[in-house]
Amino acid sequence: MLDDAVYREFEEVVGPDNISREPAILDGYTYQIVFNPTPSPWLNRPAAVALPCSTEEVQGIVKVCNRHHVRFKAHSTGWGVFNAPGYEDMIILDLRRMNRILQIDENNMFALVEPYITCNQLQAEAMKKGLNCHIIGAGPNTSVLASCTSVGGVGWTGISMGYNCRNVLGVEWVLPTGEVVRLGSPGSGDGWFSGDGPGPSLRGIMRGLFGAMGGLGVFTRVAVKLFNWPGPKRIDARGLMFDIKAEVPENIKLYILLFPDMQRFLDATYDLGDAEIGWIHSRNPAGMLFTFLFPGLMRETAGRPAMRSAMESIKHMVSFGIAASSPGELAYQEKVVREVIARNDGVLIDMGKLPQFESFMLFGLMRSTLSAFVFRAGGNFASSLVGEETTDSGAPQVDLGVRIKQEYIDKGALIDDMADTVWGSIYENNLFAHYESLMTFDSRDPRQQEWIKVDEEVVDELIDRKWGIGIGLSGAGTVVHKKFGPHMCNYDKWQRRIKKALDPEGLSDPIGYTEPGD
């Protein structure tokens, strides 16, 4: 409960229409089923929700929080358990009124956005200027700022547009104690083209492989890198999803690549990386596509040996795309991909020959519209392992994830998706790869409440075998740190210290980050 007088102070900052403590409203910020390891969809109900519309208002709220020792947490679009309040007596800052693209710098290839600009919106506007943005795998409905500053950053276009942690330029940040800092060049009033310095880059405090999940204050603006988009300013489509019909531009090619085994998939991936070609590269096993796109059919046929063996034989499947800026570049990239496939005994399916599917896949891959299909089979999903190192190192982790998942499928705790639903993507022309083993289930079904155990088993085994950084378990927070810290140079100690330096009172919700400490 918030004291009335404190509530009134918040109200003075944002105005009475933009704050609420109506329980029915608060429940909208209490419910989260995605990555929620508990059987209940309800987490902690906050004491109030505010809708600030400017950095000044965010700062105003944070200052009131500091005066009265009230915890707070920001969210942008608010999808997933990371947004759930860690405590009951806190205030949530729903940033949806901060929804402007403040700048698209065409020459210098970046955009300056507020928290509630989604990837979809930015992509649509960037394309008008011949640019594109990396959209995280979660989908185009997510906040650009959130994946840059506060959460993950993996997605289908990592091969050409990187990982969002590394796509950040200048940042505006309301610290947990209420000061506003602009990292990098904008801090000195010099435009938003750099987020680093002077001197050490505080981007490294702002986030790491993962963001602070609301545990280090509020980010109010971010300058994010954009990348060349050689396609048209706008791709007009008819239809909504499966029925989409769009003219795929001539300089864009989409392929499905199939490999006979893991080794040849890996070899080809290294070759494609070294050749520095490609716009999209994503491992999407056939089982995964079937489960997401045809859940009914999958349900009917998953148990059949013939189906299983068919899926098994085409599981090393990659969606690959080229977006070329000239006919010469297109011809070169096509020639290389065909050669790579030939040398690695693969099969190349040119989606241009399947126009209906090509239109669907164009948006699916370019705009990450396929993502929410993970909910289609059972209503919920989770993902267990994240191998984020070399492409080779992911291979045994894939097998591990699949094996453990199968045990749960066998006992009915997960939906049968032919067991290989390991989504993978490579970054920066194969600097590193990301793999995650997706699982679908129906969290309304009492038998299907065990995804977190899969996660734990996978992580434990990865640690035991010293195989990798299996950051599952929803990615962050004290539970995860306890598991990983001792095996990873006690990084959690530094996080506690960072937290203490920036937020000695622990007001910026520590649940997804850490408590302050030594």
């Binding site: 329980p23 029915a24 909208g28 999808w79 489509a237 009914g296 209503g379 919920n380 309304r444």
Partner: protein, 424 residues
Amino acid sequence: MALREYERDIRGCSRCSICKWVPFAQIKSVDCATVCPSISRYNFHSYSGGGRLILGLSLLEDRVELTEEVADIIYKCVMCGACEVSCKIYRDDIDVLRVIEELRFACVENGMMLPEHMMMVDAMKQEDNVFGEPKSARGDWAKDLGLKDINKEKADVLFHAGCRLSYDEGLRGVVRGAASILSDAGVDLGIAGADEACCGGRAFEVGYRGELEKYAEDFASRVKASGCSKLVTPCSDCYGAFKQLYPMVGKELGVEVLHVVEYVEMLMGQGRIRPTVKVPLKVTYHDPCHLGRRGEPYREWEGEDKLKRPSAFKMSGTRGVYDAPREILSRLPAVELVEMERIREYAWCCGAGGGVMEAYPEFNSWSANERVDEALATGAQAIVTACPWCERSFTDALEERDEDLEVLDLMELLARSLGSEPDA
């Protein structure tokens, strides 16, 4: 059905907020990316489709009580169904709009109606129309048009004007135009005149499911008695009630139900309507919710687990009427259609639906103004629609603005092109 019956749907919500947005492949700009007027206007998550599901669960689990404040959230929704379209792209197992309806039924059951809605329903009870205008004046619009009275003589087509077109004097030209176009094309047209009654759709939308059932029952028997083979209406609101709501409450009219634009398109195809007069006008077309996604025919599915529901039974919005009006426009000499960004299944609502026009005029006007802005951005000289509620919303919105944008019903524009602009 009660809210409880939708608990599985509700618990399936991933809080992805996709229901706040235009379907992804159709997002073309930063400004026209949102699709839900309610969340766009009131901002707290509970005002979105997904937020309404969560609210439903809060109520089911007695986490919150159905207070006036809660009813206020429930009613600040135009019931446009856009959330349903966007959600359904991904989900087979969630019927967002059905839950939104159930929340309203719960309000009525628990005496949490809004005074404005009670007045409307009282008016319906007394005068068979939503305005409380005298029932006897209902057929006045057709004066001197020489249309058949189906109470007295048989007609092949029953023309149902609907409450707004029957009483809104400012829209007289629309209804007279529509009827004249049909009769001029040789359609054997009849009206019920003063005996025409409200379709009941608006009562249903504010939570009075029983009222709709009554009106549907009554309507079905009248239609049957009339012996007509087709029911044609120029009102999208009524159309949506006939196509979607009546079957939902188990009432089939037993005749072919057509919006006038569907019928006109058919007649044009047969060469029975030939627009020849050039009307040089750049227009944009606003898809009325109740003709489009909310006009999609309802099909009851009996199964238990919606994950297994065949797509033919899913209300995805795609089977609404979108092409017929555009086809008509394309046949009007010198008329140029420029599309807005949010069209068809993902059109932005005018703001009149769901009892909002009655209870929250300011919200209605806000939503209409958003649409007017979008229309203006196309450079169109007129915004054309096919529903009197939309037309009224836009006209009122524009009254307070100094913009050069004409608001027209498609039948008005067609009448011009036929050289037969009727007196209003």
